[in-house]
């Protein structure tokens, strides 16, 4: 299991979402560790919990197969490859940080990074089911965090409380 997740962690560029189809193929089709329906259910939960989705999915598969120990190994497997790679890059790169050539390269890269973060927003908004009626939520959050410097942690806690309160309100109204 460690080896399987190590491979997934080592060869997947582009963050968590790129890992999911590969994990599904390994876990469901190749290793037959669980049925596809279970995997998909689990993915929905993993997505809604804190932490990178790739790690959460790995932890879940590990736990289903081998309990806590299983999730330790699958988690370690998925984290370790990038840990080693990033650490090596960090060690080498911090020495060249002030190199003028590197600085010129990064002057080009930095605006590109911002574009890569901003570009998926439209697609994400659609898939999260945002309508003209709920559009104010992401806009308000973005302004609160960006302009007023409100900690994102308060936003997260606030959103959870509002969601729970809303459901409580609906339940009260149904009883009447």
């Amino acid at each position: 299991m460690f080896i399987t997740f190590f491979k997934i962690g080592a060869f997947t560029f582009g963050g968590g979402y790129a890992m999911i189809p590969i994990m599904r193929n390994e876990v469901v089709n190749k290793k037959k560790w669980m049925e596809d329906a279970v995997f998909m259910d689990m993915l929905a939960i993993a997505q809604s919990m804190p932490g990178p989705i790739a790690l959460n999915t790995a932890l879940f598969v590990g736990n289903k197969r081998n309990g806590f120990k299983g999730s330790l190994f699958s988690g370690l497997g998925v984290i370790l490859p990038s840990f080693i790679v990033i650490l090596l890059i960090a060690i080498v790169f911090t020495q060249f940080k002030d190199n003028p050539v590197i600085e010129r390269i990064f002057k080009g890269i930095r605006p590109a990074v911002v574009a890569l973060i901003a570009a998926p927003l439209i697609g994400m908004g659609k898939s999260a089911g945002i309508t003209w009626k709920t559009l104010w939520i992401p806009i308000a959050v973005a302004l609160l965090v960006w302009l007023l410097g409100i900690s994102p942690m308060y936003i997260i806690v606030g959103a959870i409380i509002i969601g729970l309160a809303y459901f409580w309100f609906l339940k009260l109204n149904m009883k009447k």
């Binding site: 997947t12 963050g15 790679v85 890059i89 911090t94 590109a112 992401p138 997260i156």
Partner: protein, 185 residues
Amino acid sequence: MELIDLYLDMFVSFFKIGLFGFGGGYAMIPMIHDEVVTINNWISIGEFTNIIAISQSVPGTIAFNSATYIGYSATVNLGFATWQGVIGSFVCTLAVSTPPLIIMTVICAFFSKLKDNPWLRSSLSVLKPAIIGLIAAAALMLMNGHNFIDYKSWIIFALVFIASIKKVDPILLIIISGVAGLILY
């Protein structure tokens, strides 16, 4: 600053980041920025953007990659040795992965009950649009004078934005912009 204090501070910061890290890597950027640039001054805003760029171009998730990198960089920036930076990097990575490990262990135990829980669903219905707002905040936060130095930066931004919507590979886009930076500046 004592090395142990630094490790402890980093552990607490990244534990919090892991605990509140709903919505994955991009949504975590404002939180990581808050903790490591604004509150603790471990790294500069310029280095922060570089780290995000590097994290995007290497296998693995942005949250972990940046934790590993910042752990090393913050320690070495404060004048400590390479091996002490390696431990710092380990501390941050461990801290950011501990909350998901605990939460997923609990979730596994109650999985069948949680699956269709209306309370969970209702809180997620507000959380999801909020997470998109956090990602938008990440983009706005990074649109600062340090990352956008002149009109050429905005041209690069606009071209990459369009290319990214057209599904061009992000790593390719980072490489091209790096070459562009080398030529333009």
